[in-house]
Symmetry: C2
Subunit: 376 residues, 2 copies
């Protein structure tokens, strides 16, 4: 049986998904029986309703919401589609089987069969936003509705995973994963538990190549850290596990490239992102700190001066944009970093720290953490 | 210590990498001492020297080779660069530490330091082809030179991995990986062993989403299969482990989309690819069979008729190209499949098999394998 969020501040997900879906359906049925226009309410997800929570430090949706009605020419198809999605998700939850939003799309395409000319959906681009509508209407993430998001990311460190999956309970020791690491799954909330987390901190490393380098050196063993790579932009599951580890009291340090992508990956982990603002609280880790690489590293490590790259148009444009975000430009360290990039038109990759010797990167990180030299 | 390929037909990799690199260096040093023009020989990797091995069934390099000379205005920089790469790889092998070609690039950038205006390399695009030169000159894969390629791919099934990595031996039971699976590493040859492989066959599934679906159903347990997803195009490590499992006598079945990408991923696993023809033998699995999805599935499963997608220009162009490859058009089943795509301009995704019910895909695969209904 799918379980509720558990452990880490998921107060709003206390109700079983099946029950919540049934309540959603009953309300609509009730509207019909009361001869009212069937409707449900959805918090608006457009840009104008996305805001930064100053106090907590993440991107979230504001108070505006809209009513979706069945008897409304502009809305009735969309209404019917959302209800069809809810019915399918209810099936999946009841069957205790998972699929993706693509699998859901094909089930919906199938369900009307040959007899009706009209498909419920012609393109998946039609069904995707309605899944988000449903998540918001139910105040419940798609993972709880048995819809897997893409997964990416690896983890190693002193921790055990109790994975109750496919009618079998597996215990995984993430300190015994050799060169590979534990592949972070799509859903790290339901039927899964993290126990014996004995590490002192979490180190997130943008590139898998650097993660492998640090893993080979046994960096996480010597430091007693949980070593994670999102392998580029962090997937939902990876952002979520970082949040959960932070909830267990572990500091989170992020080691990325000093460029548009590196910054973006960091801020997504820290504050969440615009397009996932509707679940912002659950996947943002405002406690995260950026340990590098930064332009100020150039002052400290002479050899880096011959290792810079020319910043691209994308890097410069992104730096400029970031200077406009209040949640970024409130930090003088970031203003200074980004202005330096704009002035010098240079950038720096994390791989450069292998220049002097392959294990130099270990010392760099250790020193930055020891001296608390990181950016907010 | 890095070990040789072991187990599976890597006869050419019997010499230790360090020794082979030293022999490479000694030869050049000898040339200098004998007052000859220092040189080494490299098999040509251009299109004209890539050929299909009819008998064995994979893409490989032909007999033409070229001499790289130091005293030659057109070649001396390139020569010097290749020797610098070889020296670095020798360091890595001696240190028993790994990095990527990007890490290597920064080490080379570093090594000349501030005193010399000229960098050994300005761009990584300069060093990449020279690493391939070195692999060919040494007749040894980059993995043996401690250079990790990008990794991607997951595996689960009845098998154990003995991973001697970072001075520690880890035993991983790939049947106890829960929802995640074992992340297939970059290097599956050195300091790693696969034992107790008890499965009856290998099933390769293009999309991670479908792999997760089958994993949840315990498909591989019921069938006693090794379940692999390359998660899209197969990385070197994934192709290599498929080859190794085939060498252990396991049949290999590939379940992909019926489109340009799906076909390409299949043929890359089966015959290798043009750009890796120089190591073709080690990463090709000519024994692989394609179980679907195919246009002929439309005849068999009525519901699929409403689930086709319009083939894109890329799909049609690829189908036409494939009809020109002798290693593909020798199979009448493929000619008929590709002609059907060109005629109907339709394609089919593997995800469609979740249409009637989520577990339908299990039955589809089981039946195809049972009835040996697959394409060569």
């Amino acid at each position: 049986m799918p379980k509720k969020g558990a452990q880490t501040g998921d107060s709003k997900e206390e109700e079983e998904p099946a029950k919540r879906l049934e309540r959603f359906g009953s309300k609509i049925l009730g509207d019909v029986e009361r001869k009212q226009n069937p409707s449900f309410s959805v918090t608006t997800r457009t840009r104008s309703n996305i805001m930064y929570d100053e106090k907590e430090g993440f991107l979230k949706l504001g108070a505006s919401s809209e009513e979706h009605n069945f008897i409304n020419i502009a809305q009735s198809k969309r209404f019917m589609q959302t209800v069809a999605i809810a019915a399918k998700c209810h099936d999946f939850v009841k069957q205790n089987l998972h699929t993706t939003i693509r699998g859901l799309f094909y089930q919906l395409k199938y369900s009307l069969g040959e007899d009706i000319d009209e498909n419920i959906f012609n393109e998946q681009s039609e069904s995707n936003p309605l899944i988000e509508d449903l998540e918001v209407a139910l105040d419940m993430k798609r993972e709880n509705l048995n819809l897997n998001a893409n997964r990416k990311g690896v983890l190693t460190g002193n921790m055990r995973v109790l994975d109750s999956f496919g009618n079998e309970k597996t215990e995984i020791d993430t300190s015994k994963m050799g060169r590979s690491g534990w592949a972070i799954p799509s859903d790290v909330d339901n039927d899964i538990e993290f126990v014996d987390v004995k590490a002192k901190y979490v180190l997130v490393v943008e590139k898998d190549a650097l993660w492998q380098r640090l893993n080979e050196d046994g960096f996480w063993k010597k430091e007693n850290a949980i070593l994670i790579s999102p392998q580029g932009q962090a997937a939902r599951g990876t952002r979520r596990i970082i949040r959960k580890l932070a909830d267990m009291g572990l500091p989170v340090y992020v080691f990325n490239d000093g460029d548009a992508w590196g910054w973006y990956i960091y801020w997504t982990i820290k504050t969440g992102s615009m397009n996932l603002a509707y679940i912002g609280r659950d996947i943002a880790t405002p406690e995260a700190r950026f340990i590098g690489v930064t332009m100020s590293d150039l002052e400290r490590y002479e050899f880096l001066k011959s290792m810079t790259m020319r910043a691209t148009e994308v890097d410069l444009k992104r730096a400029q944009e970031m200077l406009n975000y209040p949640w970024i430009n409130q930090h003088k360290e970031w203003v200074s970093e980004l202005k330096e990039v704009l002035k010098t038109k240079k950038k720096l990759e994390q791989d450069t720290l292998q220049g002097p010797r392959l294990t130099f990167v270990d010392d760099y990180i250790r020193e930055k953490i020891k001296n608390k030299e990181f950016m907010p």
